[in-house]
């Protein structure tokens, strides 16, 4: 029964997508995380919710520093790509370590991103 309840909640924040109020949404997702962690079978779901909240926080920060509202609601991979495209390697690396992105995926993302901005020199070096 508990997991049903938490699913309802999990869907809730998604329904509220697109609202400018990110604060309450993060809280909601954190709630979901707690609910999921109360059972044993839902370790995965609980972790995902935790990461989701963390990602949203970082994206908010990024939007504040870059002054470009393009981060929130993109996936982790997309976030990394956007960072590299914008030339913000440090931020990209931070996201990478924060979410333990595997080297394999990291390379793909970097190659794609550098190719998009036609930064062939960087691609060559790397």
């Amino acid at each position: 029964l508990l997991w049903k309840e938490s699913w309802e909640l999990a869907k809730n924040p998604m329904a509220s997508k697109g609202s400018p109020l990110q604060g309450p949404r993060i809280k909601l997702i954190e709630n979901v995380h707690k609910l999921f962690s109360e059972t044993k079978e839902h370790v995965f779901e609980s972790k995902a919710a935790e990461e989701h909240a963390k990602l949203l926080r970082m994206q908010q920060e990024l939007e504040a520093t870059t002054k470009q509202p393009i981060f929130v609601d993109s996936s982790i991979s997309d976030t990394i790509r956007t960072c590299i495209v914008l030339g913000n390697n440090r931020a990209a690396l931070k996201v990478k370590t924060e979410f333990k992105v595997s080297e394999k995926r990291w390379y793909w993302l970097k190659v794609f991103a550098l190719a998009t901005i036609r930064d062939w020199d960087a691609l060559e070096k790397f």
């Binding site: 998604m14 329904a15 995965f44 996936s75 991979s77 997309d78 394999k104």
Partner: protein, 595 residues
Amino acid sequence: MAQIPNLDNAPVNLTSIRDQSQKELINLLKNIRGKKCLVIDPKLSGSLSLIVQSSLLKEHGAELRHLTAEPIQTDCTKVVYLVRSQLELMRLISSQIRDDTSKGLQREYFVYFVPRRTVVCEKILEEEKVYDLLTIGEYPLYLMPIDEDVISFELDLAYKDCLVDGDTTPLWHIAKALHKLEFTFGVIPNIRAKGKASTRVVDILNRMQIEEPVNTSDIGMPEINTVILIDREVDMITPMCSQLTYEGLLDEFLGINNGAVEVESSIMGVQQEGKKIKVPLNSSDKLFKEIRDLNFEVVVQVLRQKATSMKQDYTEMTTTNQTVSELKDFVKKLNSLPEITRHINLAQHLSTFTSKPSFLGRLDMEHTIVEAQSFDICFEYIEEMIHKQEPLVNVLRLLILFSITNSGLPKKNFDYLRRELLHSYGFEHMATLNNLEKAGLFRKQEMKSNWLTVKRALQLVVEDTDTANPNDISYVFSGYAPLSIRLVQHAIRSGWRPIEEILKLLPGPHTESKRSGYGGNQFDNLSGSMLNSDKVGDGRRSLVLVVFVGGVTFAEISALRFLSAQEGMAYDLIIGTTKIINGQSLIEPFVEKLC
């Protein structure tokens, strides 16, 4: 060429079904006097176009509109809505009516539900306070022939509805459609079903027969001998593989909708910038009938042959003297030229997709997964696809194939791929993953996979398939014989009993039953394949109706046509389905749409 298929060659009188639906619709319009505006649910208009030409509707004084969120613009004082029983549509209707009243327009409104009214919808109309302004009716369109040998029940989401949301109304709808068929063609004496949904349909159908029996005395011999029902759930492997028949490929890449495909006009060699044209695809097109079920490799050869022989004829014609009758033959051949050009254009367009290395790579991988020999290679391929952020549906197709052939993935791999998916495509896909898991399409491994046993017992992977002169249904996937069709093959030949052990390995129960709705004349079991009773009086072969609960792919239809055309086959096959599907249209409902 008309989009409405010619049904004259159908093994059973499908024209009568279509005519009946057409008559019902016209009557419905006739009963409303004067000019009226017919507002059609956009989802229905495609199906309706297979039943009736829009000019015929206009003859009966109807202006045609699609139902949209915009208020209707018309001078008519009578508005007729033709809609499915969907909640959102009710809201659209009520907002249109309210808009009219606010403008002081006085109109008469009629709402016809297809195929039947539901309490919920009427409740909504009441809540929106427009119920009293309406006349409500039904237009009982449960099934429509979409080609000589294919009947569709046009249920868009039947598969997801049943598996994820537990909604069983589609099953009632299917049973009702079969029951309707029985009213026309007599009670079908033999029923074989495999899968949870299919067995439920049989139950419902039997109950309907008790409550509202088909009067058999005036129909005589039943025209359909056997119905075989199969759940899509039983075989999710096949739709996940890329179809390789001509028609199947057209559907995979361009999307066939209600027997027509829409393409840029430039592809068809017409110089009209940016305009799309509809190309009808059905058996009325003789060339298409010939090549639709062939493996695409062969189609290219056939077209080339036709073109060269045409050229040869032409040079002969210009160099030598001809008699009048020879000239006549030549002109006759010329008539088929537009058809040849049309399909050469389409085939050329298709080959731009099929020659891509990414497509060939995917085919290769599909075969590797189906062979189920090298787990690691498949796993890494899918992982790389996720990392490259390839279109989610493509990834899911392979992933589902991978998961099913392994009876789910070991927990470690399962969690890893799930995490990578969420990271690459966004956390909102948690809901998508949940849907897939609930439907058993992508899940954790709980027992050892029995795919290898099934594969071997039913000979699903066939080496050395000759696509040009096929001797087995495996040609449709260049080496993989669709599981669903293998089951049908067995069911037709000998019933379920000899393969019971295998059936138990596949999801859902199976049943086999006989019904007697007609006087004493009991049919023998099908196993006595060539018994006299199997032949209908006038020498035609008797009929087997194969129903796919949850949709069927064009490749599977092709495989069934192939079986039907085999020598020594005692039956004609016709196909019933909730919808024509492909891997993409099957998975899309699972991907959770937000907002």
